[in-house]
Amino acid sequence: MQHQASGTASINASTFSISISKPIQLAAALLLGMAILYAVGFVNTSAVHNVAHDMRHSQGFPCH
């Protein structure tokens, strides 16, 4: 446990043969989150707007 604690940006892929560095994985997860938030909170197509309408108003996303 001790020797692993130092590897903060370690490559970890025990079940995969490809390994991607931790910062890139974190960046990818963040990007995915932002894409979701953009779609639900910002896209102004009327169908998307109508579905997300009540959420946008209550979450304080700019609406209308």
């Binding site: 903060t8 079940t15 963040l30 009540d54 979450q59």
Partner: protein, 271 residues
Amino acid sequence: MIFRQIVFYALLVGAISGLVLTVAQTWQVVPIIHSAEVFEQESASVPAIEQAGQLARVHDHSEHKHSADAWSPDNGIERTAYTLLSNVLTAIGFALAIMVVMVASSSLNNAAVTWFDWRHGLLWGISGYTVFWLAPALGLPPEIPLAATADLEARQIWWLFAVVSTAAGLAGLAFGKPPWRWAAPLMLLVPQLVGAPHAPGAMFADQPPAAAAQLEQIAQQFIGATAIANIAFWLSLGLVSAWAVRRILSPSGNVSPSGPELPPEIESSSV
């Protein structure tokens, strides 16, 4: 594969806190939106509320016209279901963002900020609330339908600006080193000093005076109602995220190397 773990747990965190938000909204937020929409339908069909006697029929009419323009969910179960869906999706997005920052901060090897017990969960939740709700709401309070607003794009840009600036300010305060740390509070102030775009004139200027007065009162209540629903949402999101991040970090032993809280035997086999 930390990406996969974060995504998996974000789905779970999003489902739980999205549900919390939906329940919290049904108490005050959604009823207020509906009561404002009554005015919306009235003003779409009849200009003055004095003609209340005819409302029922005309109202029906305008609703049909409305749904012919663009699809929208029917009131009732369908609308609630779509709001639940949007809440969960939003929560998943927020959970991804906050968990990424939590995991990244654990690399700082500072036990004070990377413990991830329930108190830290609350703190992360309050930070999320400040960044994503409070800071934008100071400039652009959540609005009810019918409120006069500035250009949508301008408001979206300011919203984003407020979020990014506040996040940077809080991160600077929590993790920054002295010169940067003292500059961090400025980042919190900048979006508020710049100011959000607002429509000129009264908020409900195109409404009859009686309706406008009533709507303004509803608008005030709405701000309080959303503040409460969102604090419930963010506290649950912070708490569940802290639990998830602990689980994500524990197998590799990355969380607080000195932390006595971490039983080393948990799920070393689960990854």
